[in-house]
Symmetry: C2
Subunit: 292 residues, 2 copies
Amino acid sequence: MAKQNTVFKDAFNRCLKLLAETSALPSEPELGTTLGVSRTTIRAILTRMEELQLIAWDKRAKVVLRQPKAEDYYPAEETDSLSDIIERSFMRRILAGGAEPGMQINELELARDIGTGTTSVREFLIRFSRFGLIEKRPNSHWVLKGFTREFALELTEVREMFELRSAASFAALAPDHTAWTDLDRIEAMHHEILADIDNRYKEFSELDERFHLLVHTSSSNRFIVDFYDIITIVFHYHYQWNKTNARERNARALEEHLDYIAALRSRDPVLVEAACRRHLKSARETLLQSIQ
Amino acid sequence: MAKQNTVFKDAFNRCLKLLAETSALPSEPELGTTLGVSRTTIRAILTRMEELQLIAWDKRAKVVLRQPKAEDYYPAEETDSLSDIIERSFMRRILAGGAEPGMQINELELARDIGTGTTSVREFLIRFSRFGLIEKRPNSHWVLKGFTREFALELTEVREMFELRSAASFAALAPDHTAWTDLDRIEAMHHEILADIDNRYKEFSELDERFHLLVHTSSSNRFIVDFYDIITIVFHYHYQWNKTNARERNARALEEHLDYIAALRSRDPVLVEAACRRHLKSARETLLQSIQ
DNA sequence: AAACTGTCTATTGTGGATAAAAGACAAAAT
DNA sequence: ATTTTGTCTTTTATCCACAATAGACAGTTT
């Protein structure tokens, strides 16, 4: 098979949810915009919905005949894009499995393992190489540099430089900039989670990403914003395999964020720098602690 | 054809030069190390040299029969790797040709233009995307973000952060660190070029790269060192199409480098920072000036 | 006249095939 | 006891093919 129709399946599932809320679907271009796919895919979705007798479709008329049932949905594992599958599989190998630094990475073996073609694995590795965890020997294998203490230190060093600068730009943003209202929303979410920390501490990870990305974005520098991808992926996968003291760690980080947010609001560069440094220091310690 | 034998052809040409200097070639593994290729390639080279009656080859004995002539060499255009060809071709399109920001980049069209398969073009674009000049729309085209004033400003902002930090680490290096002798060599080269600036000003570009890379390397941070790749490629191609006042520009930069080097030697953080800032400021101005 | 649909074409994403290049291992030579 | 060579296997780099997806254009509907 040349290409998996995951775009279609995922959009179909999302379209079923839209269908549950109305008695008739909108026009094809409108659906395309809503779901973020082309009309070709929309028409494939509508055709499938007609087959399943979910809708009666005649040109502009797309009347809902019945509510979607659980079996109408495509299973979740069929809607993941191939690159996501490769990424997860690879990260599990190098972060969870005892992968030693210096180990060779074999495209063919990886492809066989995942059950995919070499081209996709190869492209993944090229994309992934910018994270500094692997390196290519031309005409030969890739070398795993490993998720080591050095890696974490180098990563956090740059992160701290970038975030201090971004935080300073944030504080200097015009008062009517949309970032301030984004910050309000993020702050409110902090309070919500803290109020029910025992049940909701797992939501921290996503909120953390949103908050720091917002700060980095205010640098208006593509290199700084892009760098945050590395932080995101490292933290995302790393915390999946390191859940010790997650509740306390997250509670503490939430409090630090609130101080940091208050400092940003004060627009006082000295306060901002101090709060930012304090939080970054404890984030670094957390990361280093979890390495071995 | 599946793979161009450019590795073989390039190594063959380099081996011809070795051959011109001795009466017998060394062992296969030794040749492999010298030329940086595998024994498989070495044996292909030896076979070819035997065919051309350049050597008499019997097991360990590889006796030189005659000196190589110009026609023994493979033509230079056959020794370039495909990714180099794609890179050059692409950079000419986006830097020299009037490529507008926002323009779409089409893998198929690019591949047809260059006369290569789409896979190679695609892999090049993925690798190249980390330079922040292009961006992918999934399942669709790439978008050219363009070599604009914003790009240059964002690039230099990060460069300045990284270089100031690297210069500070450099000054703190132990006195017996090899970087100091590398610096001696680079400094000497500066004096040589300055002494004959009218004829040799073109050598500045390569020397500039060596010098700044040396400084960045002392940060011992892979992200800082890797970032210098972006600077390198931008300056490399950019100066190929912007040669106005090259002589004066280079002479001035050489003088600034000498100040900068003297400051590093002083190991005084204040002097280092001042010299580094002065040079970076004029480098930024030069880059911005040449944009439009 | 503006938006929508039917139809068709072009491009991307991915597996598979193949020559080039790397590399493993045992036998042979110093 | 190394080092080198002969032979063979494995892996990478690259092209090609094809389904999925995007996108263009003309005719149709509101």
